[in-house]
């Protein structure tokens, strides 16, 4: 039997959060952490978590699994269980709404700040704005982000200043639009980032890179933004 310890908190009845222990029979199979949650929810329907696609595409089931942020649906028990124990907590740093569900408003507010949409005021061509294969390839490693928040909630700089520091997820997307040959607002975008918090609160700790379930590298993107800021200022 596997020991599963889950963070529980229902603000309507609990004074404070607590860890609840469950015994779980894996039947010897290496299933995903999300499967465990689903089965436990059948036994205890009050257990609350987010999920949708159950295949690492939607980004809704980011949780802290035995100390490391990740998507429950694509994290197998063989990676998550330590000493026959599985510990599941909500993503750290943001307010908990209930059990494993967190309030992501601050995360989205930072995302909104970087204007995550194409800005180009020149008249639209009849069919589409074309890119060369080289220009398109600059977006690889950036556009794949599913906004699961695993990175930003693993980042100490984001924990301390979630209202001022954009965080790795937002900055990866900021660079996604800075790097897009079709976007014409590069200078305006850079000007909005040149304060002591938005970008420069990143201290290169690289927790974000370590946890990203899509294998993306926000630290590298942040380095590119910094270089663009240096170039535009000199």
């Amino acid at each position: 039997m596997l020991n599963v310890s889950i963070y529980r908190y229902n603000p309507e009845v609990d004074d404070e959060p607590y860890m609840e222990d469950f015994q779980f029979d894996t039947e010897g199979k290496d299933i995903m952490v999300l499967d465990v949650l689903e089965k436990l929810k059948i036994k205890d329907p009050t257990l609350v978590f987010r999920r949708s696609c159950r295949e690492g595409v939607c980004g809704s089931d980011g949780v802290n699994i035995s100390g490391k942020n990740g998507l429950a649906c694509i994290t197998p028990l063989s990676e998550a269980v330590k000493g026959n124990k599985l510990v599941i907590r909500p993503l750290p740093g943001l307010p908990v709404i209930r059990d494993l569900v967190i309030d992501m408003s601050q995360f989205y507010a930072q995302y909104e700040k970087i204007q995550p949409y194409m800005i180009n005021n020149s008249p639209a061509p009849t069919i589409e704005r074309l890119q060369s294969p080289e220009e398109r390839s600059k977006l690889d490693g950036l556009y794949e982000c599913i906004l699961c928040a695993c990175c930003s909630t693993a980042c100490p700089s984001f924990w301390w200043n979630p209202d001022k520091f954009i965080g790795p997820a937002g900055l990866l997307q900021a660079y996604r639009f800075l790097a897009d040959s079709r976007d014409t607002a590069t200078e305006e975008r850079l000007a909005r980032l040149d304060d002591p918090f938005s970008v420069f609160r990143c201290h290169g700790i690289m927790n974000c890179v370590q946890v990203c379930p899509k294998g993306l590298n926000p630290t590298k993107a942040i380095g590119h933004i910094r270089n663009m800021l240096i170039r535009s200022a000199t």
Partner: protein, 122 residues
């Protein structure tokens, strides 16, 4: 864009650059001093005072002190705005942080003037 008045330069980029450049200056000074002491392990007071009385050396020392001052200001400001905030310690944080920031700035300026006094007093 997050605006702040107590940071060193107003822009994140300039703070970042100052932090890098000052680190290089301090490292160069450290290597020079340690190297000098290793090569002259039996240095006398006259020699040591002589080294520090030349204008280039005084400039180098002063530049290093300015670097220490700027580096400390930026570094301490970052630490204070990480840990002494309303979110970490509650509503009193603003007053406490301003107190520490002003204290820190005053201390840095005193050290700087003191260093000038020492350097030109040799």
């Amino acid at each position: 864009m997050v605006t702040t008045v107590t940071s060193f330069g107003r822009s994140g980029l300039s703070d970042w650059l100052v932090q890098r450049v000052s680190a290089v200056v301090m490292t160069a000074y450290l290597i020079f001093i340690v190297g000098y002491l290793l090569l002259n392990s039996d240095v006398s007071y006259q020699q040591w005072a002589g080294l520090h009385s030349g204008l280039p050396m005084r400039m180098f020392s002063l530049l290093t002190m300015l670097s220490v001052a700027a580096h400390a200001w930026i570094g301490m400001w970052s630490v204070l705005t990480d840990y002494i905030t309303v979110r970490t310690i509650g509503p009193k944080a603003k007053a406490i942080r301003i107190f520490f920031q002003l204290g820190m700035i005053a201390m840095i300026l005193v050290y700087l003037l003191w260093a000038v006094d020492i350097l030109w007093g040799i």
